[in-house]
Every structure is written in C-alpha cells, then in structure tokens.
C-alpha cells in the first residue's frame, strides 16, 4: 500500500516541573500510524492528549524520544529533516498568532519563495502567490499591502493555507486549524481541505477535537487518549460505531445542533492531566464505566476488530 508518511513507535517523554524532578510523563507513547497520498487523516482527542506533540515531531520542531518517521519511503536522517521543508507544511490554531501584526501579510509569501528559491523574478513570484491565493478563494490584489488586522480570522487562516501551498507540499499538518474560528468559517476551511485533496492530491493531517468536521472531511481517524492511540479506522466505523469506551464518551459529548438530541445524563471529568498520564494499566480506567480489575494493573493490548484497531480489554481475552 502507498504510504506518504509513516509514523512508527513514536514516543516522547517530558520531564515535569524542574530539571531535577524525577516525574516524567510520556506525552506520546509508542504510537504508529500512516497517511496515504491524497488522504485527510484526523488525529483527535481531548486537549493534552499528545496531538500537538506528535505534530511538532513530524514537523521537526521537536525530537522524538524513540521511534521513526518515514516520508515518501525516506526515513528521517538523524536530526536532519531534508524532506520536511518542502514536502510538509504546517498550519496552526491561532491565525492571529501566525502573522506579526506589524508586517504586511504578503511579506511572508515573498519570504517563503525566497527561502526555497521558488521564483526567479518578482513578476514570477507574484504570479505564483496569486495562483496559490486563488486556490483558497482569494487573490494577490486582496492582500497586497495589507496588515493582519485588516483581515478576519477566517481570511487569515485561508491566507496561511495559501502560504503553506507555495512549496507544493504533499502533506499539510493542520493543528486545530478551526478551533478559534466560528461555525460558518469552520466549514469554509474544511471545504478547502477537501478541494486540496480532490483537486491537487494534497494529504492533510487534521488535528482537532471537532469530531463533526472530522467526520465530514476525513477518510480515516485515530483517537488519542493520554499519549495512546486507543482506536483507529475509517471515520465511518470509528465515529458512527465507536468501540472504545473513550471514543463512545467523545461521541456522546459532541453537542449536536439539534434540540431533539440534548445531552442526557452526567459525565465525569478528569481532575488533572497528570493523574491519568501516570496511571498504571489502561489510562482511561479512572473514568471508564466498564473498568475491570485487570484494566487497573496492565495496559490493554491493541487488537483488530472488523478492520478497526482498538486498545481495550473489552475486545481481547484478558490474560490469565
């Protein structure tokens, strides 16, 4: 099978508190997944579960404690991510944080072209910028000479996508690109991802906790909980027929825009992240309605259930 990006046994350990502190958390714990060409893959889960850490390692902003990342068949060379720069581009959560308020927005575009030596003349640069802006429904004229404050959040987010497209990447890593924008703009951004996939063959790693948009645009999804991938498969299987108790909780917590389906019953929340990260056995055991004796002592194995990967004792034989 064709794999554009493959993450194998990725682990990242952080020391908590001071350097001398012995307390360590495994923010990402031995996770593996791959992304196909022209695929939108979602990485979902509550805040603090390790999504951004995974993204930052893929982007080369952070070193893994263990594990490998392979891009188009090329394994990463130690600390030298030659492939990352052009082939993979990033989009972040806060569109206002991406651009310096005192610099005209177009400068970022010219800078990227210069850094990657992608234009031989100013006229060619403008042509290229204009073409990428057209892909996101804007044009060079819309942004020439303007500063970030002159755009809405949604426009800025589309502008940052256009900038990411300048290098013709095969993969866009989008870390919570819609969590700060309102419902109407959300759709315009995820619709844009669809267009990029269908028309330009670009893949997207869509990191989010908005499962409704994930269902709408994604092909496959991995659900993370405290550093583990607890369930992975097609969005149809994972979101319409969730198997892992945590996915079931996530799914039941999505506020549906339908007054006939208001939330029923109460839920329990974690008091602190640390408690769960440091838990022995299944990290969800403290909140899981099905927790058994063994769940509290030994982490469950990952098993395949009807094409879906699930990490929970409910789907495997407890060891004797």
């Amino acid at each position: 099978m064709d794999k554009l990006l493959e993450v194998e046994n990725l682990t990242k350990v952080f020391a908590l508190g001071s350097v001398l502190s012995k307390l360590r958390i495994t923010a990402v714990d031995n996770i593996s997944f791959f992304i196909k060409p022209a695929e939108i893959f979602a990485l979902a889960g509550e805040s603090g579960c390790g999504k951004s850490t995974t993204a930052r390692i893929i982007l080369g902003f952070e070193h893994a404690t263990a594990g490998t990342i392979t891009h188009s068949g090329k394994k990463e060379a130690k600390n030298e991510r030659v492939w990352f720069t052009e082939g993979i581009q990033a989009i972040f959560q806060d569109p206002f944080g991406t651009f310096n308020p005192l610099r005209p927005v177009e400068r970022y575009f010219f800078e990227t072209l210069r850094n990657y030596k992608l234009a031989s003349s100013p006229a060619e640069a403008v042509r290229r910028i204009d073409a990428k802006l057209h892909a996101v429904g804007l044009s060079y004229e819309d942004l020439a000479g303007k500063y970030p404050s002159e755009f809405s959040g949604g426009q800025l987010q589309r502008i940052s996508i256009a900038r990411a497209l300048l290098t013709d990447p095969q993969l866009i890593v989008a870390d919570e690109p819609v969590s700060m924008v309102d419902a109407s703009l959300r759709m315009s951004i995820v619709n844009l991802f669809k267009t990029l996939r269908d028309e330009l063959g670009v893949s997207v790693l869509y990191i989010t906790h908005d499962l409704a948009t994930a269902y709408y645009v994604c092909d496959r999804i991995a659900i993370m909980f405290r550093g583990d991938i607890v369930e992975m498969g097609t969005v149809e299987e994972v979101l319409m027929n969730p198997r892992h108790p945590y996915t079931q909780l996530l799914r039941a917590s999505i506020p549906e825009a339908d007054t006939a389906h208001r939330w029923q019953g109460e839920i329990r929340l974690a008091d602190t992240e640390q408690d769960e990260y440091l838990r022995q056995g299944c990290r969800f055991a403290g909140r899981c309605p099905h927790a058994m004796e063994i769940c509290r002592s030994t982490p469950p194995p990952t098993v395949q259930v009807e094409g879906v990967q699930v990490r929970c004792y409910l789907y495997s034989e407890p060891f004797s």
């Binding site: 509550e46 805040s47 924008v181 309102d182 759709m187 269902y215 709408y216 939330w263 929340l269």
Partner: protein
C-alpha cells in the same frame, strides 16, 4: 405577565477611536432591544467580530473608553423596580457585581492568579466582597458551593496550572456564582475546550441555573452548545440582533437568510453531503454597508435591502426577524 429582568432599549455601544486625528467609529452594538426573562437561558450567536462581547460588556455595565454607550439604555429589575444602569454610581455597580449580576469574560480561565492556590483565590474573593469578619462562615459556604456543583474539594489545594483547562473554567464559573447572582453572563465559556470538557462546563451551567433559578446569558459561536442549553437565541449580525426565537425555532425554522446559512452549514453525523458556508466575509463595523448589513452576502438581496434597514417582523409569537423577505418590519426597530 412581564417577567423581564434585564432589558435593553435601542442600545448603541460604539468604540470611538482617534486615529491620526481622524475619528473612527466602530459600531459594535447597534439599536439592540432585548427583553431577557427571569429564569431563562438566553443564547447569543453570531460570527467573530459581530459585537457579542461588546454587547455583554454593556449588559454588565463594564463600559470603558474607547467603548461608549452612545444611545439607548440598559435596565435591571431589582426587587421589582426598574433601574437604569447609567444612573448607578461606581459603588452601587460594585455592590451589584456578583451578588446581582456576575460576568465570566472571554478567556477568563486565564484570570486565576497563577501563583496562588485556588483556596487563596477564594479567600481573597470572599474577603473583598463580604469583609474579613464573615470569612470563616463564608469559606464553609464556598466548600458547600463546590460540593453542590459537583467539583472535588481537593482542587482548593491546587495551583491553576495543575488543573486541566476544563477544571479551570469550572472553577471560574463556581467563583462567579458563589454569591448566588440573579444574572450570570458568560462569554464563550466553552470555546477552545474539547468536547468532553465542554459538556462538563455546560453541565455545570445547567446545574447552577437549576439551583439558583437565575438567568443566564450565554455567548458562544458553537451552535451545538446553544442547541443543548439555550431556551431562546438571539442571532447577531454586524452589531444588530437580526433574528430572535425559541431555540427549537432557530434550529427548526430559521427565517433570516443569515440564520439559515448558519444552521444549514453545520455538519451532521451520518451525512457527508457537501455543506456551504456563508459566502463572502463579514463587513467592517467601522464601515458598514448601507441598508441591511447582510445585503452584500445575501442570495435574496432586493433593491430596497440596499437602501433601508428592515425593521422587525413578528412572524409568530416570540419569533421576530429583521428581513425584507419576511415582512414589512412593522414590529419595532431592527434591533
């Protein structure tokens, strides 16, 4: 029977900015008429920058330059009497804060003092509002309050950074409701929280409302949250409320073209059919288009839309819409 506890009449709140000697006026709240009922959860929705937070600032009388109330008024009903907020002295406003009206601003979970334990934040809060003498008694009250709201007492010994984002937000809400305010105003209390935590915060707000039998005004652009908690919803566009109805009506029979886009663009599980977002981009509140502010983006625009702002048409009891398509706007100024 009129059960209005919080009212605005033709309220206008503008940011007046001095830019290189030229005055720029941002019309963030324009001609808003609200009649919020005692015991209801009133939701306000609208896209980013449409004036939601500004409206809330005016409701809680937290208007500071460059923001000014340039027209209309806000009134509270306190012990059966209508009180015009603009007549209150700073002392009177302070006395009403938290005991009568409490405000949880946007991004407020970051306001907890990072170097103080939650216990100390509570103590400071109680002392500043009730005085030292009643401290012991009040602290017992705080513990009861947390227990009532289903929050674990051990959080009192934690520092804010040790709590998850959702727990911080719930602590902020618990603090704001300690003095049992009649009105609680929340600005995006669930935004940027993940869905499970969001549900926990909504659960808490409902719990607060059930116990205190008070009024909640909730701003969020998450329509799913509105569907789950609000009794009535006001849809805001470019500084104005353009539609207002019971939550079921807003979702089931939206009448304003903007509301219709808002509702139909929401993704649904089990339905992958393409969804359109609202075309175009929001207008600048410093340079509004004439007539109906939605006209440059509206698929149903007619000539008169560009010339004159439609008034409200009451299409049903408790369902009003400001759009020429719907009626002649004979039911009051478009708020």
């Amino acid at each position: 029977m009129d059960n209005t506890i919080l009212r605005t009449a033709a309220l206008q709140a503008f940011y007046q900015l001095d830019l290189y000697g030229k005055t720029k006026v941002v019309k963030a709240v324009n001609e808003v008429d609200l009649a919020i009922q005692a015991d209801e959860i009133y939701g306000i929705a609208g896209e980013s920058g449409c004036g939601k937070s500004t409206l809330l600032k005016a409701l809680v009388a937290a208007v500071e330059p460059p923001l000014r109330v340039v027209g209309g008024k806000v009134t509270y009903r306190i012990d059966g009497k209508e009180v015009d907020v603009s007549t209150l002295s700073p002392e009177e406003k302070r006395a009403l804060r938290l005991s009568y009206i409490a405000y949880v601003p946007q991004g407020s979970m970051s306001v907890l003092n990072p170097v103080a334990r939650i216990r100390d934040t509570y103590r400071d809060f109680i002392e500043s509002h009730l005085g030292r003498q009643r401290h012991q008694e009040a602290f017992a009250l705080a513990q009861d309050h947390l227990t009532d709201l289903g929050l674990p007492l051990k959080i009192l010994d934690a520092y804010p950074h040790q709590l998850s984002g959702g727990m911080r937000q719930r602590v902020t809400i618990a603090l704001a409701t300690l003095l049992k305010p009649r009105i609680l105003i929340g600005d995006e209390p669930t935004t940027a929280l993940d869905v499970v935590v969001q549900r926990g915060v909504v659960q808490l707000l409902k719990e607060v409302q059930a116990r205190l039998k008070n009024t909640i005004v909730l701003v969020t652009h998450d329509m799913g949250v509105h569907a789950n908690i609000a009794d009535r919803i006001g849809i805001m566009y470019a500084g104005r409320i353009v539609e207002e109805a019971a939550t079921e009506k807003i979702f089931g029979a939206p009448a304003h073209p903007y509301t219709q886009y808002l509702i139909s663009s929401l993704p649904k599980f089990g339905d992958k059919s393409p969804r359109e977002s609202v075309p175009g981009s929001p207008p600048s509140l410093a340079n509004l288009p004439g007539g109906c502010p939605f006209h440059p983006r509206c698929p149903h625009v007619q000539t008169r839309c560009k010339e004159k702002m439609p008034g409200f048409t009451q299409i049903e009891k408790n369902h009003r819409v400001a759009c020429w398509l719907v009626g002649e706007g004979e039911h009051g100024q478009a708020a």
